[in-house]
C-alpha cells in the first residue's frame, strides 16, 4: 500500500525529552559537587542532592513515558547502547543520592563527586546520541493506520 503524501511523518517519541531533562539535572550535580569541593559551602552540597533527586524523579517519569511510547506503538526496537548508558547512569545516580544524604564533606568527597563524574560522562555520550532509548518507528507505512 502506498503511503499518502503528508502522512509520511513520524510520531515523535515522548521519553527522550524527560531523559534529557533528568540528564541535565544529573550533570549539573557534577558542577555543584565541584563547587562544594572548592569552597566547602554546604549550600552547594544541598544543591547537588536536590539536583540528583530531581534527576531520579525525572528518570522515573522518563521510564513511564518509555512504556507509553512502546504501548502507543511509536517506539521501534530498543537501542541497547543508549539503554545501557542511561540505565547505568540512573542506577549510579540512585547510589549517588544515598551517598549525598551523608552529612557534610563526605557526602561529596570522594565517592559522591566520583559518581557524579562517571554519570556525567555516560550521559554526555547518551545525550550526544539523542537521548533515545529506542529507535523511532515511522507510522503510516504499515498496519498502524
Amino acid at each position: 500500500m502506498a503511503r499518502p503524501i503528508g502522512r509520511s511523518r513520524t510520531h515523535a517519541l515522548l521519553h527522550p525529552f524527560f531523559v534529557g531533562l533528568g540528564g541535565a539535572l544529573l550533570m549539573a550535580a557534577l558542577f555543584t559537587d565541584y563547587m562544594y569541593t572548592s569552597n566547602s559551602l554546604s549550600q552547594w552540597a544541598n544543591f547537588s542532592v536536590w539536583l540528583i533527586t530531581g534527576g531520579l524523579v525525572l528518570a522515573l517519569v522518563a521510564t513511564i513515558f518509555l512504556v507509553i511510547d512502546v504501548a502507543l506503538g511509536r517506539a521501534g526496537p530498543i537501542r541497547w547502547l543508549d539503554f545501557g548508558l542511561i540505565g547505568v547512569a540512573a542506577f549510579l545516580s540512585l547510589v549517588n543520592v544515598f551517598v549525598h544524604t551523608r552529612d557534610a564533606w563526605t557526602s561529596v568527597v570522594p565517592t559522591g563527586i566520583t559518581l557524579s563524574t562517571i554519570v556525567t560522562i555516560l550521559l554526555l555520550a547518551a545525550g550526544l546520541r539523542g537521548w533515545c532509548v529506542t529507535a523511532i518507528k515511522s507510522v503510516g507505512r504499515g498496519e498502524s493506520q
Partner: protein, 440 residues
C-alpha cells in the same frame, strides 16, 4: 557469600547497601567509663537504624524499678514533658515543650521527619510549665495546674532569689515567682538572648544556676549533626554559656560540646557537670554520649574530633590545632543513648548503692540497632568523678520486642523527700520513684 564473588560492581553496591542496614551495635557495656571501646568509623548509604513505634502507657502500666522501690505516676496526660524541677516547698514544675519546628533543607529531612513522628518525637509540646503540688509527699499530687503558658519551646528552668528563670529556645526569660504561687500572670522580662537562628537544629536550652546563684549556666546544642548545615551557623552553638544572673551578660564557658542536653552542679564541690549527646551516622557504636565535668574554657572536640583526638572525616576544612586541644570526657555512657537528664543523688534516699553518684535519663534514639538507652541509670562516683558500671534504675520503657516504646525518659530530679522524679515525653507522664515502705 558465594554469590558475591561473581557479582558485578553494581551488585556489590546493592550488597553494600543491605550490609549497611544490618550493621548491628555491640555490647554497650564496653563503652561505659573513661576509656570506651571506639570502633573504626564507617560511612553508610543508609545509616543503621531502628525506629520503635510510640504507643504510650496503658492505665496501670509503669516502667520497672528495682526491688525495694516503688513507682507512681505523679501526672499523666501532659503535653510532651521534658524537665521536672522541684521547688523548696515541695511543688514540682513540669516543663512541657517540643521544638519550634524547622523547615526541611534536604530530601533527607522529609525522611527524618517521618522517623521522628513514628517514634513519638514530633508530638506538640505544651509550651508551658505545669505545677504539681504534693503537699503530703505521698506521690499523689493534690493539685495540677498550669503555672505559666505561651512560652517559646522552653526547656531549662532555675529558681533563684524569688525569680523563675526559664530558658526558652531563643532567650532566658525571668518571672517574679515565690514558691507557693500557683499562677504567673505577669509577662516575663528577657534576661539574655540565646542562639536560635533561622536554623535551630538542637533546640533545647538546658540550664542550671551556680551554687551561689550569681550565674546561670546554659547548654546550647549544635545546629547540625556534623556541620552539614554550614560551619558559619555553628557560631556560638555546641557550647555552654555562663550568664550573669543580674545583668544578663554572657560568655562562652565551654565549647565543642555537641549537644549539652542537661547540666548539674555536683554537691560539695560545686563543679559543673553536663551530659552531652555526640554525633550520629558513623556507626552503631560511635560516638558514645558522655557525662563529664566541664572546665572553664574547655573545648570538647565537636565538630573536629570526638573522644579527644579522634578526627571526624566529615568536617572540612579540618583544624588540627583544635583537635589537639580537645578534652577527653570523663565518662562514656555508650552510643546513641541520648542522655537528656542528669541529677546528683543526695545520699541514701533511695538505696545505699545510690548514695554517691548521678542519675541519668536516657531518652534513647533510633540511630542504632539494637536500640540503646530508653532507661534511667545511676552512675556511681568515686573521688568526685564517675567511676564503675552504671546501675539501671527505671527500665522497660521499650516493649520486650523493642518494636514499640511506651515512654522515653528525659529530665530527672530529686524531690524534697529524696524521691526520683522523671519526665517522660512519649508517655506524657511524670514518674516518681521512692523507697518502698512495707513492700508497697
Amino acid at each position: 557469600m558465594i554469590g558475591t564473588r561473581v557479582q558485578a560492581a553494581s551488585g556489590l553496591m546493592i550488597f553494600a547497601l543491605v550490609a549497611a542496614c544490618s550493621d548491628k551495635g555491640g555490647d554497650p557495656s564496653k563503652q561505659y567509663g573513661p576509656n570506651p571501646d571506639l570502633p573504626e568509623a564507617h560511612q553508610y548509604l543508609v545509616p543503621p537504624m531502628s525506629v520503635p513505634q510510640a504507643v504510650g502507657w496503658k492505665t496501670g502500666e509503669t516502667p520497672t524499678v528495682p526491688a525495694g522501690m516503688r513507682i507512681q505516676a505523679m501526672a499523666t496526660g501532659l503535653m510532651h514533658p521534658r524537665i521536672v524541677y522541684p521547688l523548696p516547698n515541695g511543688d514540682i514544675l513540669v516543663v512541657e515543650a517540643n521544638g519550634p519546628g524547622t523547615k526541611p533543607f534536604r530530601p533527607k529531612d522529609y525522611i527524618s521527619g517521618k522517623v521522628k513522628a513514628r517514634a513519638g518525637a514530633s508530638d506538640k509540646g505544651g509550651n508551658r510549665i505545669t505545677l504539681l503540688r504534693d503537699a503530703d509527699g505521698d506521690g499523689v499530687p493534690e493539685m495540677k495546674t498550669v503555672l505559666v503558658d505561651h512560652l517559646h519551646s522552653p526547656y531549662g528552668v532555675a529558681w533563684v532569689a524569688d525569680t523563675l528563670y526559664v530558658a526558652n529556645t531563643d532567650a532566658i526569660v525571668a518571672f517574679p515567682f515565690t514558691p507557693g504561687q500557683t499562677e504567673i500572670t505577669v509577662p516575663g522580662t528577657k534576661l539574655a538572648d540565646l542562639p536560635a537562628g533561622p536554623i535551630n537544629h538542637h533546640w533545647t536550652k538546658s540550664m542550671v544556676a551556680s551554687p551561689d546563684g550569681s550565674k546561670l549556666y546554659v547548654g546550647v546544642g549544635s545546629n547540625s549533626n556534623i556541620t552539614e548545615n554550614g560551619i558559619d551557623i555553628e557560631e556560638g552553638r555546641a557550647a555552654i554559656y555562663e550568664v550573669d544572673r543580674l545583668t544578663g551578660a554572657k560568655r562562652l564557658y565551654a565549647t565543642g560540646t555537641r549537644n549539652p542536653t542537661n547540666l548539674a552542679i555536683q554537691p560539695g564541690t560545686g563543679q559543673l557537670f553536663a551530659v552531652v549527646n555526640e554525633r550520629d551516622e558513623i556507626g552503631p557504636d560511635l560516638v558514645p554520649d558522655y557525662l563529664t565535668s566541664i572546665k572553664d574554657g574547655g573545648f570538647y572536640g565537636w565538630p573536629y574530633s570526638y573522644w579527644g583526638q579522634h578526627e571526624d572525616v566529615r568536617v572540612h576544612p579540618q583544624d588540627p590545632a583544635m583537635v589537639a586541644k580537645a578534652i577527653k570526657p570523663d565518662y562514656g555512657l555508650s552510643s546513641h543513648v541520648a542522655a537528656l537528664g542528669v541529677v546528683f543523688s543526695q545520699g541514701e534516699t533511695l538505696s545505699p548503692e545510690f548514695a554517691n553518684g548521678a542519675f541519668v535519663g536516657e531518652h534513647g534514639s533510633w540511630n542504632r540497632d539494637p536500640l540503646n538507652g530508653y532507661q534511667v541509670i545511676f552512675v556511681p562516683f568515686a573521688n568526685e568523678r564517675p567511676s564503675g558500671m552504671p546501675i539501671p534504675v527505671l527500665t522497660d520503657f521499650l516493649a520486650p520486642d523493642k518494636k514499640t516504646v511506651h515512654g522515653r525518659p528525659v529530665g530527672v530530679a530529686l524531690d524534697r523527700t529524696g524521691a526520683l522524679v522523671v519526665a517522660d515525653d512519649v508517655g506524657n507522664a511524670v514518674w516518681r520513684v521512692s523507697r518502698s515502705v512495707d513492700g508497697k
